[in-house]
């Protein structure tokens, strides 16, 4: 599982930085390094681009795992340099941006867009498999998520736009319900295709503000 990210255009980053002159850049040694969006090389590239526009680079670092709390003893040097900057740019997913923002007192800005939680389907190709909706129905659908894989998030698909295993919106998109059908057929469980899946409780999904889970509270 990886947090899939993509670099924001330089113009957008510059707009976010505004009048901030001194910039510190943070990369991440995990997903963004593997994806080539926020590793050592990309941090250096962004630093060079910003210098060309007249910004001053106070320093750069690539944290091993930006979304994990930074060990206290590792903070000193990083913080000292970061605090001198007018703004800290973070080349990680949004979780990393939040972590860095917690320990830096100045503005912390994202240099990447966080796209989705994806699985590498073939080398270099990541596909979203889970929307983290809070109420898993993989048990009914052969282990393939219709909410994520069907562009209309149908529970009782496939719709009339499924042709030759492809979705009508884009031939690069596989029909999620064809995948489910094929898998259930292989499992000898096509009877599950006849079940009317009732309307869903979306309150466990993203309709109610930030979701929380406590290991300490009784269910």
């Amino acid at each position: 599982m990886k947090s899939i990210t993509a670099r924001k255009p330089l113009e957008e980053i510059l707009e976010c930085l505004g009048t901030a002159k001194r910039v510190f850049i943070v990369g991440c040694g995990t997903c963004p390094t593997l994806l080539g969006t926020g590793g050592v090389n990309q941090v250096a590239e962004l630093a060079a681009s910003l210098k060309e526009t007249g910004k001053r680079i106070e320093g750069t670092t690539v944290l091993p795992v930006a979304c994990e709390p930074l060990p206290f003893e590792a903070r000193g040097e990083f913080l000292a340099a970061a605090e001198k900057a007018d703004a800290v740019l973070v080349m990680s997913c949004a979780y990393g941006v939040r972590q860095v923002a917690d320990i830096v007192s100045g503005p912390t800005l994202p240099a990447l867009n966080t796209l989705f939680i994806g699985r590498e389907e073939e080398p270099g190709l990541f596909i979203e498999e889970c929307s983290q909706c809070g109420d898993c129905i993989l048990g009914l659908t052969g282990g393939i998520c219709p909410i994520t894989r069907c562009v209309k998030s149908l529970f009782n698909g496939p719709c009339g736009g499924s042709v030759g295993g492809k979705c009508e919106i884009d031939e690069k998109v596989l029909c999620g319900w064809q995948l489910i059908y094929d898998r259930l057929k292989a499992l000898g469980r096509l009877d599950q295709m006849d079940v009317i899946i009732p309307v869903r409780d979306w309150s466990k999904s993203s309709s109610g503000g930030p979701r929380r889970y406590s290991m300490n509270e009784k269910k």
Binding site: K152, F155, N156, P158, E168, M193, I196, V199, W202
Partner: protein, 305 residues
Amino acid sequence: MKAGTNLEKVLKAGNFAVTAEIGPPKGGSAKVIESKGEELRHSADAFNVTDNQTAVVRMSSLAACAILRRMGLDPVMQMLCRDRNRIMLQSDICGAVALGIGNLLCLTGDHVKFGNHPESKVVFDIDSVQLIATVKAMRDGGKFISGEEIAGPIPMFIGAVENPYADPFEYRTARLDKKVKAGADFIQTQAVYDVPKFSQWMDEICAAGIDERTHILAGIIPVKAVGMARYMRDYVSGVEIPDWMIKRLEKSKDVKEEGIQIILEIIEEIKLIPGVHGIHIQAVGWEEIVPEIVERAGLLPRPML
């Protein structure tokens, strides 16, 4: 009677039904709906109004249906799951009942990617099968999805759509059965051009006894130009146009007449297929041809019930 609409009466009496589609304008003119309604008044039993079809913003189906109802016509309100959550869907169903609309066609809806606002956020809170079940529960159980009681009856004749040409083809009968079990009283299909394939699908429907539990109306889209046929073949999702048809149109000197002739031949073949209870003509943007097609197909006068 579930809703007592003209469409329901015509089908219940065993007539071969004719429904026709009326596309609402990209604006607020009631006159557009009124003149199309007047033009088609005697040619069909009920009139579908599309709901922001292909994700292009138009006058709402609810408003256009209310205008048709005011004219004494029997509207079929199309309702998509793309743009409304369950609160708005149920609210509009109550509103439709208040305005005398008694036929409701439940669809999932084309993806916004195809329309004129491809940047929109899609809703898809519930899907078409769930919408069918919702309307049935509102009508027969008197309850909203929440389980709360509805004040007063919701008489709705419930429709659904099916595309006999989509994949997986071997699942299409079971998929229709799901819609019928959820509560679909009538079905309007995607446009039929490949009659043998449609007939094969209908054989399966009849073998499963589904035709006895619902009314199936075959979709008809008249083609007036070779370019239109090619465009539909290549770009309109779910439509299959056989090569022989395009060749016939290409060879013809009067393409419009040839297109009508092809459609009349298809209607003749469809009439003979067991289990088909009518046709649904979608001549969007060419509504004025409907009276001629219905007349030449020998389907006039429409029954007065």
